[in-house]
Amino acid sequence: MKFTDEIAEEIKAAAGKTGLARVTPDRRILHAAPVTNEGAALILKIATRERIVVRTRLFPYGAEESAQFHYRVIQLDLSRLAGVIEYSPEDFTIHVRAGTPLRAIQEAAAAASQWLPVDPPADNALSIGEVIAKNEAGPRRTGYGPIRDHLLGAVIATPNGNILKTGGAVVKSATGYDLHRLQAGALESLAVGLEYILRLRAKPEAAATIAVECQDRGTAIEKALRVRDLIDHPAALFIISDLVGPTRVVVRYEGSQAAVDVATERARPVLGPNRVEPAEGDKLLMAARDGGLEPGFRTPGRSPITLRIGSRPSRIQLALHAVTLVMEKVHKPVAACIHPSIGVADLWIPKPENADPRQILNEARAELMKLGGGFARLRRPFETHGGEPQPSWPDSAAYAVMARLKQSSDPLQILNPGVLPFPAPADAFAPDVPPPEQAPAARPSGASAQPAGH
């Protein structure tokens, strides 16, 4: 069950003349980078017809990992589907292809003093498709919300090769079902995003960052929540305890110069006169953004184990404490970046030789359940192949709805299987998707790709 010349050629044709389709020497991974929406959709259609697993660009390392579970894997790379389709500064909307790097969107918007107020990791290098699929966010999520809140519409390709369009270039809509927002955080397991329409905002005229050292995380959280209770709404409010420097509470205000000055003044009784230089402020935001992620974010093999905790302001301290204890069993000390006003924290340790991240995740979830709720996930999506640990799954009725959604959109479970723990239908395992116990041996990592048919 390897890629035959015929299928490789068919996918190559779908990728288009300027597109790319290369198969690895062992003929088990086919890297395809189509240049049109239709080409991408056709590749999905072929994959469904042939029951070939598709890994999208979100998982650049995932194809190798997937090959441990599946006979053949198409790695679908949308980076050539990039560029701004339409930018309407007067309507504050931008329509882009999914492979467009966030940086390109920010540059286009900057021309009209606008921006997309999200700051996911990797310095705007991620494509907008990746950001949306992971609902990825950085410290500015406190002030501006996650990418889902800025999403107005999408063009998506479903595993059966259909291209669907929902939402549009209007900033408000109550028309039909929000299929586009459903893609945010779905890890491209329902459909593949091809284009997105996003709402932009006016770029703030000024910014100020205040940072103050604290003895411990508890004091820092308490201080941060006092800042949250001030009348001014921060763009970011976090505690960085990354073991590189001291534990610090950082607040960032953005807006008009006057508003920023007033907010800074009002935060003084809590944080003191600790406004930092703009460059230092930007550095702190970057540290919060990229904390717990290896340099470059997408480099395989070197990642620390990073858990993202989802809780609520009143419980974040307890949640942190419980999960820290779990992680300390593997490595001490545990670094953290905490966003207390939205109840989110990242905790990370360097990856020790023999630690199983899933085991740590399981234990963390069990601890959170004991506290009465909260979520934990590994920051980097990985293939669990049904091994996703309980217990922080939605209740069974919601789970059944999710499974039916997946089933109706991707009946053969070819699309990024295993990233969310939906049981695959029995027939989807044969012959291309063997159950884990019958999986082919993992191919050696790092084998280079060759053009299809060679």
């Binding site: 309407s88 889902r148 259909n162 669907l164 109550a174 929000d178 005229e205 609520r312």
Partner: protein, 481 residues
């Protein structure tokens, strides 16, 4: 309307018998007189008598009722206050109406987390009134907020004037307790951040009662702004008012609300109990509100005034105190009510265009309405490009009603042609389900039908709403059973 005294029911109906046994005599009605009051919602153009009305008082009662209805294959229509304007709560033939008005408890307010747990029959304005003591507010503020329920708001993803800054309902609901069409109770989303799995909460919000019945929610509360300033700027032309809006938005100022009312709306308001002192000689007025820190509000207010003057606004009114602010808003919030006095019936439309297309859309609306000889007035959320063309008519006049509907159809098509869409906040319901193919192809409609089936495999939830019945065959499916 909930009944506190027992209501007569039609005991001949076995479904009613079971419902009465499960929920009690005073929670079910099937008599003609009671049913008459539930024939339509705020869209009086369409009427259908339900088979029965049910008033549960808890999630468990909703679940029990739904299990019975599911077993008998009776279609289910959830209903809040019935203020919906797209016919979403219009009963379906032989169907049950589940009225959530008895579920109006505010169960928990957590000021630290800025959240509240509420039942879905809570009236929108009651929540803000309740949490005001904590310096908090619930942001979505539909103009119907003194009557509509949070459940109806969730189902329609309701907006309101202040949604320009704060966003519509979907940004303010963290989780929902939902009864699915088989009676199962589930939780979508979570008050804790980042729940795992697909975002079913977002999908449910705006689904118009077609995916299940929301019974409770954790909602987000926002701190009340430090100060608020409200301005009313009259313009000699609608075009100038729209240009002023574009210029305000482009300047980077983020007003809390930015609304336009045209001359005919002003005339109706000033002749009604909602009279707010709007100038009768203006072609349009712009109602703008800014909120936040005093220094910023002062500065933004000045800039807005400057922009309005630049586009020819005269005699700009500024609300000097809360009473004046309330007066200025009274006209806007009462606009539909005021227009209701112009003729026996009012068709309140709702569509959206990109903001830059507002002047073109408004010109086209006037032209269309003049051509069909129907009386139109406009009041709209200008910042969002969300139009409410209102047409006053007499429903007893069949010819006029026909012209109203024909004009409505042209308006919808025109908005879509300008890059807009069918609805900004009132939803599709039965008013616009036939227009869905204008904006969606067969593939999208098919995906919507699949999505509905994932929640409601038997097609019992609000069949025929949102999607043209013929396209997904839901009513037929439900009736067969």
């Amino acid at each position: 309307m909930a009944h506190s005294t027992p209501v007569p029911t039609s005991h001949a109906d076995p479904v009613v018998q079971e419902l009465v046994a499960a929920l009690g005599e005073n929670s079910v009605a099937a008599d003609r007189d009671t049913l008459l009051a539930y024939e339509c919602d705020g869209l009086a153009l369409y009427k259908q008598r339900p088979r029965m009305v049910i008033w549960p008082n808890s999630t468990e009662q909703v679940s029990a009722a739904v299990r019975i209805l599911h077993r008998f294959g009776v279609p289910i229509v959830p209903r809040g206050a019935g203020t919906g304007l797209s016919g979403g709560a219009t009963p379906v033939e032989n169907g049950a109406l589940i009225q959530l008005s008895r579920m109006k408890r505010i169960l928990d307010v957590n000021p630290t987390d800025r959240m509240a747990r509420v039942e879905m029959g809570v009236i929108n304005a009651d929540l803000s009134a309740h949490v005001a003591r904590f310096g908090l507010a619930y942001a979505p503020d539909p103009s119907s907020q003194t009557a509509c329920t949070l459940g109806g708001n969730v189902a329609e993803n309701a907006g309101g004037p202040h949604c320009y800054k704060y966003g519509a309902t979907s940004l303010h609901v963290l989780s929902l307790k939902v009864v699915l069409s088989n009676g199962n109770i589930t939780e979508l989303g979570s008050p804790d951040a980042d729940p795992i799995g697909y975002d079913l909460r977002t999908l449910f919000i705006g689904s118009e009662g077609t995916l299940g019945i929301a019974t409770e929610a954790w909602v987000r509360l926002i701190p009340k702004p430090e100060i608020v300033e409200t301005w009313l700027a009259p313009f000699a032309s609608m075009d100038a008012a729209c240009k002023a809006v574009s210029s305000i938005v482009a300047s980077g100022i983020q007003p809390a609300a930015i609304e336009i009312l045209d001359d005919r709306t002003i005339a109706a308001i000033e002749a009604s109990v909602f009279a707010a002192g709007y100038p009768l000689d203006a072609a349009a007025v712009l109602l703008v509100e800014v909120d936040g820190a005093p220094i910023e509000v002062g500065r933004d207010g000045e800039r807005i005034r400057g922009i309005c003057q630049q586009f020819g606004a005269l005699n700009i009114q500024f609300a000097r105190d809360e009473d004046e602010r309330k007066r200025l808003w009274k006209g806007r919030k009462g606009a539909f009510g005021a227009m209701g006095r112009v003729a026996p019936d009012l068709y309140v439309m709702d569509c959206v265009v990109p903001r830059s297309k507002l002047p073109a859309a408004l010109d086209a609306i006037r032209e269309i309405c003049d051509r069909y000889k129907v009386r139109n007035a406009n009041v709209f959320h200008a910042g969002d490009g969300n139009l409410h063309p209102n047409i006053s008519y007499d429903g007893r006049d069949a010819d006029e009603t026909k012209r109203v509907l024909a004009a409505g159809e042209e308006i919808v098509k025109m908005c879509v042609a300008l890059g807009g869409t069918l609805s900004g906040e009132h939803g599709i319901g039965i008013e616009k389900n036939i227009y869905m193919p204008l904006v969606f192809g067969a593939g999208e409609l098919d995906a919507f039908a699949n999505l509905r089936r994932a929640f409601d495999p038997d097609g019992l939830m609000n069949p025929g709403k949102v999607m043209p019945a013929a396209l997904c065959g839901e009513i037929a499916g439900a009736m067969k059973r």
